[in-house]
């Protein structure tokens, strides 16, 4: 099977600091891929580099064999990389349904003229987007909040809004940056169910950063461990669980004396 997303020898410097070194990644279609590592290892930086927030100093990023390195973030997103953020990046003055609607931006082609004069093309496309938004909101169990401001929602629901919004961009790979951070056990169970369902329904590959080991081990097919910007281990969950290097990075070296 060919790779959906392929990152080759990506290195990035912030000034003199080498944040990511010689990073390689291959995500196959429909794969759930986990990225773990201690705080400050550069996990979110990897996300930002692939999704175009920063342009990597060196290396190559291919999505379906097309180079996406150096494109603008919105273009990369439109090509099929949807993402969520570690510290929720919702639009605080907007309601939930508008969040989901907005994420269809790249799928519209009625142009400014259509928007100004409310042409038929504009109305048709907007109606379609509205329908699609309601379908997504149902799936993510946020339909009851449709007209509420996002800031008035409980935390778990806000996370789900973010995910629904990312899915509305119609991504090929969904990047989830700590999807369960700060969630209650109940919400956590709901989240696992939703991620499973998204994976099933949308034919999408998922790349996620997570700290809860149970969650990662349960969901992911492949896991990568990042320490100080370098991958120290990669493999299926059982292998990672027992990898001495990973244990060392997380728990520290056992004193042998």
């Amino acid at each position: 099977m060919t790779a959906l997303l392929h990152v080759k020898n990506m290195t990035h410097f912030f000034g003199g600091l080498r944040a990511v070194h010689n990073y390689n990644l291959t995500i196959k279609p429909r794969q759930i891929f986990g990225l773990i590592g201690p705080n400050g290892a550069g996990k979110t930086t990897v996300f930002n580099l692939i999704t175009g927030v920063y342009t990597p100093s060196e290396g190559e990023i291919l999505l379906e064999n097309q180079n996406i390195k150096g494109l603008e973030t919105n273009e990369i997103a439109a090509r099929g990389l949807g993402r969520t953020f570690q510290n929720l990046a919702l639009w605080r003055h907007m309601n939930v349904v508008d969040h989901i609607r907005m994420a269809h931006y790249a799928q519209l082609d009625y142009g400014l003229f259509g928007a100004f004069f409310n042409t038929r093309a504009c109305r048709d496309q907007e109606n379609q987007v509205r329908e699609n938004s309601h379908r997504l909101m149902q799936l993510f169990d946020i339909e009851k909040y449709a007209d509420d401001l996002v800031t008035s929602l409980p935390y778990g629901a806000q996370r789900r809004v973010e995910m629904a919004r990312a899915m509305a961009t119609n991504p090929k790979v969904l990047f989830l940056d700590e999807p369960t951070a700060g969630m209650t056990p109940d919400e956590l169970v709901k989240m696992i169910r939703i991620i499973r369902q998204v994976h099933q329904d949308f034919n999408v590959a998922i790349f996620l950063i997570e700290h809860r080991m149970k969650f990662v081990m349960e969901l992911c097919e492949q896991i990568q461990t990042l320490v100080f910007g370098e991958v120290i281990a990669q493999g299926p969950p059982e292998e990672i669980q027992n990898n001495p290097q990973v244990i060392e990075a997380y728990l520290g070296k056992e004193d042998m004396t």
Binding site: T73, N74, W91, M102
Partner: protein, 426 residues
């Protein structure tokens, strides 16, 4: 509180059409008997222009008379007719509801314009106030696109307005008038009213191109820094015009043909509100909000933020240019001093008073600040104490303005109001 609530409930069954009928009656009363009978018997020298505010402030002796006039001519007829005509206006509104929404809206607007025209026509001063208020509505709604929806603090609106005013004035002077500076008219002046929309659009386009000078820096900076850049833009435009002698320099430029009667301005205002409403409720327009609230998230959700910012500035500036063109042809004289810091203060006061991110708010803000400004004119200096005080109170109690973050719901506004509905909804 109790009385107010009772009052509200009593009139909750009146549809928009009923209010129109009530106001229409009041205007008719004023039109036919206002001068000959009512103001004569109340001892007023003439018809009070703005509900007696000017007379009351100039000569306090007249206060009872002016208040009585308001009561007799406006308050009692409007309330009585609106309430008593419910039995006929409600079925009427229900009938209109069956029509397509746009048709019903157009019918309402025609009625509204008729009343406005009649009311304003009673006095020349009123016509001017109404015209300037309509121009202010265009200005406020358009600056709301930049300062409200897009969330920048742009201070360059008077500059855009000046560009529009000067470009359209130069065009009309060249094309339709025999002028000292530009020579004889190129086209027969009779064509003026027909080509005026094109002239205005040219003015708007000039403003839109000018706005790039602010839009492009906005890619890299926002907040205070952009405010300073935009302020600089406004002063650059003003000084440039002051130093261009062929368009009059600081002395200004007069003699524009009077191409902007009330109906023309009314139609442009409606067009402006309609187009901006369409834009800001569409996804392309909502993109402005996403850029305001979180630019990084917007980028990641496929929004083209640069294009969005440029659109916001050029679109807002375009309408400011149109407003400037209309303004120039209402006053038939402009000078650079009109488009300076005072105008900026006025525009910002209107938009922040009325409410950010809301077209209704902008309309309310523009109308109230304008009418207040005219009504308090006799107070002279104290006017500039009272209006800022009101602004400060609004900012304390409603930081985003009176009516913020709301869109027009035409259907709800125009629908018939039956008693039965009242019982169901709390």
């Amino acid at each position: 509180m109790g009385i107010l609530q009772k009052f509200k409930q009593m009139f909750s069954t009146v549809p928009m059409l009923g209010w129109f009928l009530g106001i229409f009656t009041a205007v008719l009363i004023e039109y036919f008997w206002g001068y000959d009978y009512i103001s004569y018997y109340l001892g007023l020298p003439k018809i009070p222009v703005l509900f007696g505010a000017l007379i009351m402030l100039k000569e306090p002796v007249m206060i009872p008379g002016a208040l009585a006039y308001d009561l007799v001519v406006y308050v009692i007829p409007v309330l009585a007719v609106a309430k008593l005509s419910c039995f006929i206006t409600n079925p009427g509104a229900a009938l209109l509801e069956k029509l397509p929404l746009w048709l019903s809206a157009v019918i309402h607007l025609v009625c509204f314009y008729g009343i406005l025209h009649l009311w304003a026509g009673i006095n020349d001063y009123r016509v001017l106030v109404v015209k300037l208020t309509l121009v202010s509505i265009i200005l406020t709604v358009s600056i709301n696109v930049i300062n409200g929806y897009q969330g920048e603090f742009s201070c360059s609106h008077p500059g855009f307005m000046a560009l529009g005013a000067y470009v359209s004035s130069i065009l009309t002077l060249i094309l339709f008038t025999n002028d000292k500076i530009f020579g004889t008219a190129l086209l027969p002046p009779a064509l003026g009213p027909y080509l005026f929309p094109l002239v205005l659009v040219a003015g708007g386009a000039a403003a839109a191109i000018g706005s790039l000078a602010v839009a492009i820096p906005s890619f890299r900076t926002r907040g205070d820094y952009l405010a300073i850049i935009s302020l600089a833009f406004m002063f650059i435009v003003k000084s440039a015009v002051e130093n261009l002698n062929f368009i009059g320099g600081a002395r200004g430029m007069g003699g524009q043909p009077d191409l902007a009667p009330l109906p023309v301005i009314f139609i442009w205002t409606l067009l402006c509100i309609w187009v901006i409403h369409n834009f800001v409720t569409s996804i392309l327009g909502k993109a402005l909000n996403t850029v305001r609230d979180d630019e990084a998230a917007a980028e990641s959700m496929t929004v083209k933020t640069r294009k969005t910012k440029m659109t916001a500035f050029m679109f807002g500036a375009f309408w400011a240019g149109i407003a400037g063109g209309l303004f120039a042809h209402v006053l038939t004289y402009i000078n650079p001093g009109m488009f300076s810091i005072n105008r900026l203060a006025e525009i910002l006061a209107m938009v922040y008073f009325g409410g950010l991110n809301s077209i209704v708010g902008s309309i309310v803000g523009a109308v109230s600040i304008n009418v207040l400004g005219e009504a308090l004119r006799p107070l002279e200096l104290f006017k500039w104490i009272i209006i800022p005080l009101i602004l400060i109170f609004v900012m304390i109690f409603r930081p985003y303005g009176l009516i913020s973050f709301t869109e027009i719901n035409t259907k709800k506004l125009l629908q018939a109001k039956h008693k039965r509905q009242q019982g169901v909804s709390p």
